[in-house]
Amino acid sequence: MLTAPNKTGLVFFPAFDWAISPTHPEREERLLYTQDQVLEEGLFDIDGIVEYKPDLVTAHDIQRVHFCVPDVAAVTTESHLISAGGAKTIGRAVMDRHVTRGFALVRPPGHHAMRVVHGARGFCNVNIEAVMIEYLRQTYGVRRIAIVDTDCHHGDGTQDIYWHDPDTLFISIHQDGRTLYPGSGFIQETGGPTAVGTTLNIPLPPNTCEEGFLYTIRNVVRPILDEFKPDLIINSAGQDNHYSDPITNMNFSARGYAELTALLKPDVAVLEGGYSIEGALPYVNVGIILAMAGLDYSHVMEPDYDAVKQRQDPQISAYIEQVGESVLSIWQNRAAIQAKMQNGENFYRRNRRLFYDTDNITEEQQETIRLCPACSGTWKIDTTSSLGKRILAVHIPRRACSACRRLGRDWYTEAANGYDSVLLQDRPEDRYLTNPCNES
C-alpha cells in the first residue's frame, strides 16, 4: 500500500453545478476530467492523503480582506463562500497539525480579486488565498507569510491586497503583462511606500519551458524565500502555464509543475486558473498532489508530451536570467528604494483606474497612506465605480501603532458627506464597520 511521506490534506470541490456562463472557461466541466484522473489514480486511498469537506467562510472572514460594495452578499455567491472555505479548511488542517501540508483544489478562483470589490475581475470575486491567510493570522497569530503565485496571469488582486503589507511577501511568476491579461505585473511593481520589496514580479516571456520556470524557482524565488523566512508558504497554483492551455502562450508541463511544487515546498497550495481541462489539468493536479505528498511523480506525463518541444530557446533562457537578476537586485536594494519613494513625506497618494473585465465595471481610486515611522501605516481609498457608487474605505493594519489606529478611526468617523457609504477595516480589533452615522 502506498504511504505518503508528507501527510497531505486535500479539499476537492469541483462545483459541478456552478458556471459564470455555459460556455465560459470557468464552467461546470472544468474539473470533471481532473476528478476522473484523481479517482482513477486512487489518490484518496493513499495512506497519508486526507480528503476534507470544505467549510464555508463567513461574511466576517471576507470583510477582513475586502471592502465589498455595497456589501458581501451582493458580490458573492454560495460557490465563492465554499471555494474560499476550502482554502480555509486546508489552512486550518495545516495549522492544527492534522496534516503537514495541503492543497485546496477548488473553484471559482480568486487571485484577481482586489481589496475593493465592486464585482468580478478575471473570473474572481473574492481572493480565496487572502481570506484564508487573514483567517489564519486572526486565529493562530501567524505573522510572516509568503505567497508564490504560479498562475500564468499576474496575481494583481493578491498584489493589491498585500501592496502595503511588509509581513506578506508576494511573488508572482507569470507571462509578461505586455502579452496577456491583466496587463500588469512588471518588475518595477514592488509594493507600496512602506512595504517595498515584499511585492515582487517575475514576468516571463511567452514560450518559457520547464527549464525557465525551474530556473526561476531555484535561483530567484527560493533564495528570496530563504531570506524572508516566512512562517507559511502559500502557492497560488494556477495551471495555465501549461503548453496546451487555450488562453495563454507558455510551454510548461505536468511534471514541471510537480517539480516546481517539490522545490517550492508550499504549506498550502490553492488552485487558481488553468483552462486546458482535458490535456493539462488532470495530469498537472495529479503531479502537484504527488509532489505535495512527497511521492514519486516521475511517471506523470501528458499523453501528448514531447520532450523535444521542451528545449528552450537560448534567447529565452538569457532573457529569463536577466529578469531574475533585476528582481534579485530590487530585493537586495529594497530599503533604499523605499527611502527614495517616501522622500521624507508624511503621506503618499496614488490615483488609479481599474477595470473589471468579467462584470464590465470601471473604478476610479484615490489612495492615501500615512508614511508612519512606527508601523506600515493606515490608509484609505476613495473609490467610485461606473455603477455610480462612491465609497470611502479605511484600513487600519494588523500591527498599526496607536497613532495610526487613531487616525484610521478619525478618518472613518469624520468622513465628509458625499459618500454612499464609509467602510472601516479595523484589523487590530478584528471589526469591520459601515457608516458611522448609522451606529449611534
Binding site: F12, E40, E41, D45, K53, I82, P246
Partner: protein, 557 residues
C-alpha cells in the same frame, strides 16, 4: 420455504422460513477445517422432517473466501496490468506473477498507446510454463474503454482456465482498487467454485435439487451460477447477514443504527429508511482496498470478552480479547464478568467472575458491584462515542456540488437496534445514557441466518456516455452502443435501467418487484473554444440492499 444459513466464527446458524415467518432455527459449531461438513450438518438438521420439494431456495453466507484471503490461501494468479502514465503501476503489485504491459487509455476512453500482441503472447507462454491457471487483466480507465482488457483476454484465451477482466467487476473509477479486486476474484475463484460445487453435489447425493444462492458483502444475494464470475463479492461479507436480518425491525422512514455486540468486536451500521448505507468505494479490509460493493460498517474492539484493565484510575476496555470471560474459564476479567456480578447474566461461574472484577475493584477502592457497574457504563459510553464518530464520518464525506453542500442530507439517527449476546442488558442502559430509542432485535440470535434467507438480489450498473465520441458504455455488462448527439441523461437512464433489470433477473431478482433507483446522474456540456461539442453523461443505477419483497411485514408481526 427458504433456508438461510450463516457460517459464523464460532457458530453456524440456519433458519427455515416461509411467508408466515421462521419455522425452525438451529445452531451448530463451526469447524473451520471442514466448512463443507459444517454446512451439510446444518442443512441436515434444519431440513430434518421437511419435505425437500418445498424448499425453493437455499441462501449461504460463508466465511470461505474471507478465510482464504485472511489466511493467505490464495490461488496463484497471473496479473496483466496496462497503465500508461500516472503513478508507477509497479507500486500496486498484488502477487508474484504481476506484469506491467504496454497499452494506455485516457480519461475519456481514447487510446493513447496500443497493446503489444507479441508481448502478451510471450507473457502467456511464461505464465503457462509457471503452471498458472487463473488470470486477471486490468487496464487504467478500462471502465471508459474496455477494448484493451478485451484484446488481452482474447489473446490469452484457451490457454487458461478462467480470465477475470477488471471492467466486468465494477464500473467505478479507481485503478489500484480495480487491480486488487481483479486479483482477489481470480485468487478465490477455485476455492469458491470447488466449495459450492461440493455443496451442490452433497445435496444432489441426497436427491435434493435446491437452487443455491450466495450472500454478498453488499447484503444482497446472487445465484451460485452467477457468483462464479465474481466470487470476490463474497469476501468480507461477514457483517452483512446480521444487518440485513435487522432491517425489517427498523422503524420505517427513520434513521437507525444497528449494533451487533459480539465477543471481540461491536459492529455498527447505519440504516436510512431500512436501507443500509453502502461503503463509498468498496470493501476496505486492512491492506485489501477493493471495488467490491459492501455495506458501510464500522467495527470497534469492544465486546463481551474484551479484556478489562485499570489504567490511571480508569477502566480500559479492549481492544484486545485475551480469551473468554473469567466466568467461562478465561484469564482476565471482561464485560461479561461485569454483567454476571450485576446479576444480569446467570450462566457461568459467578465466583470466578466476582473474583476477577474484585481484583479491578480493589485497585480503585470500590466494591465489586460498583466496579461492575462502572465497567458496564464505560462499555456503553464507548459504544455511544463510536456511534457519534461514525455518524460524523458519514456527514463529513465530501460532496462535489454547491447544491449538495448547502442542502445535502445529514444523517441523524434516532434509534438503535441491538443484537448479539448481551443485547437486552445493553439496550436498557444505552437508552438511559442517550437520547436514542433503543430496541433489541427480536430473534437476534438467528438474525444473521434470517438476513441471509430474506436478502433481496442486489445489483448495480454504471453507464458512461460521450456524445462527441458517439459511444455509450456500461463496462460491467459488455454494453457498448453507438449514440448520436440527441442522446441525453434520460436516454442514458433508460439504457441503464434496462441493463440493471436484465442483470438483476439473471442474478435471481423477482422480476415483478425490482426496486431500482438512480444513485447518480450527471450531464456535462463539453465546450471547446466557446462551442458545445457534445455531452458527457455519467449514470449509476442500483437495486439497494434490503429484504425481499413481501417479507418485511412478516418480521414486524
Amino acid at each position: 420455504m427458504i433456508i438461510g444459513l450463516d457460517v459464523g466464527g464460532t457458530h453456524t446458524d440456519a433458519v427455515l422460513l416461509d411467508d408466515t415467518g421462521p419455522l425452525k432455527e438451529i445452531k451448530v459449531p463451526t469447524d473451520h477445517r471442514d466448512l463443507l461438513h459444517t454446512v451439510t450438518t446444518g442443512l441436515d438438521q434444519v431440513m430434518a422432517d421437511i419435505d425437500p420439494q418445498q424448499v425453493q431456495r437455499l441462501v449461504l453466507s460463508t466465511t470461505l473466501t474471507t478465510n482464504a484471503v485472511v489466511q493467505k490461501q490464495l490461488a496463484p494468479v497471473g496479473m496483466i496490468v496496462s497503465s500508461g502514465p500516472g503513478i508507477d503501476p509497479a507500486l500496486f503489485r498484488t502477487n508474484a506473477h504481476y506484469h506491467v504491459v504496454a497499452g494506455s487509455i485516457d480519461h475519456r476512453g481514447r487510446e493513447v498507446q496500443p497493446i503489444d500482441g507479441d508481448e502478451i503472447h510471450a507473457l502467456a507462454q511464461a505464465l503457462q510454463a509457471a503452471d498458472i491457471r487463473y488470470i486477471g487483466v486490468v487496464g487504467k480507465f478500462s471502465v471508459r474503454n474496455p477494448s484493451h482488457e478485451q484484446q488481452i483476454a482474447d489473446l490469452l484465451n484457451n490457454h487458461f482456465e478462467k480470465i477475470f477482466m477488471g471492467h466486468h467487476l465494477s464500473g467505478h473509477l479507481n485503478f489500484p482498487r480495480r487491480i486488487a479486486t481483479t486479483h482477489l476474484n481470480a485468487a478465490v475463484y477455485p476455492v469458491h467454485k470447488k466449495f459450492f460445487t461440493a455443496v451442490k453435489q452433497s445435496l444432489a447425493a441426497k436427491g435434493l435439487r435446491i437452487p443455491i444462492r450466495v450472500l454478498k458483502a453488499d447484503g444482497g444475494n446472487t445465484r451460485f451460477t452467477t457468483s462464479i464470475d465474481s466470487p470476490g463479492q463474497t469476501v468480507f461479507s461477514g457483517p452483512a447477514a446480521s444487518i440485513i436480518g435487522s432491517v425489517g425491525y427498523a422503524a420505517p422512514g427513520t434513521e437507525t443504527v444497528v449494533l451487533d455486540i459480539g465477543g471481540t468486536t461491536t459492529d455498527m451500521a447505519v440504516l436510512i429508511d431500512r436501507a443500509p448505507l453502502l461503503a463509498a468505494r468498496g470493501v476496505d479490509a486492512g491492506p485489501h482496498k477493493t471495488l467490491i460493493r459492501a455495506l458501510d460498517t464500522t467495527s470497534i474492539g469492544l465486546g463481551g470478552d474484551s479484556a478489562v484493565r485499570v489504567v490511571d484510575g480508569d477502566f480500559q476496555i479492549g481492544p484486545r480479547r485475551r480469551g473468554p470471560a473469567m466466568a467461562f474459564g478465561g484469564p482476565v476479567p471482561t464485560p461479561t464478568d461485569a454483567l454476571l456480578v450485576l446479576k444480569k447474566l446467570d450462566t457461568g461461574d459467578h465466583e470466578r467472575a466476582r473474583e476477577g472484577i474484585g481484583t479491578l475493584a480493589g485497585q480503585l477502592d470500590q466494591t465489586p458491584e460498583e466496579a461492575a457497574a462502572g465497567i458496564f457504563d464505560c462499555c456503553c459510553r464507548l459504544i455511544l462515542e463510536a456511534i457519534d464518530h461514525m455518524v460524523a464520518q458519514i456527514n463529513s464525506k465530501p460532496v462535489y456540488t454547491v447544491h449538495e453542500l448547502r442542502d445535502g442530507h445529514r444523517a441523524a439517527p434516532r434509534e438503535l437496534l441491538v443484537l448479539g449476546g448481551p443485547a437486552p442488558h445493553f439496550a436498557e442502559r444505552l437508552e438511559q445514557l442517550s437520547d436514542y430509542t433503543v430496541r433489541v432485535v427480536p430473534k437476534w440470535h438467528v438474525a444473521n441466518a434470517i438476513g441471509a434467507a430474506l436478502a433481496r438480489t442486489t445489483s448495480e450498473v454504471t453507464l458512461f456516455a460521450d456524445t462527441e465520441q458517439k459511444t455509450a458504455t456500461a463496462p460491467e455488462e459488455n454494453f457498448n452502443k453507438k449514440i448520436d448527439g440527441g442522446y441525453d441523461r434520460q436516454a442514458a437512464l433508460t439504457d441503464a435501467f434496462d441493463l440493471l433489470r436484465d442483470k438483476a433477473i439473471r442474478h435471481g431478482a423477482q422480476a415483478n418487484h425490482l426496486e431500482m433507483e438512480a444513485v447518480e446522474t450527471q450531464e456535462f456540456n463539453m465546450v471547446r473554444g466557446f462551442r458545445t461539442i457534445g455531452k458527457n453523461i455519467r449514470v449509476k443505477v442500483q437495486i439497494k440492499p434490503g429484504l425481499m419483497h413481501g417479507y418485511a411485514k412478516l418480521l414486524e408481526s
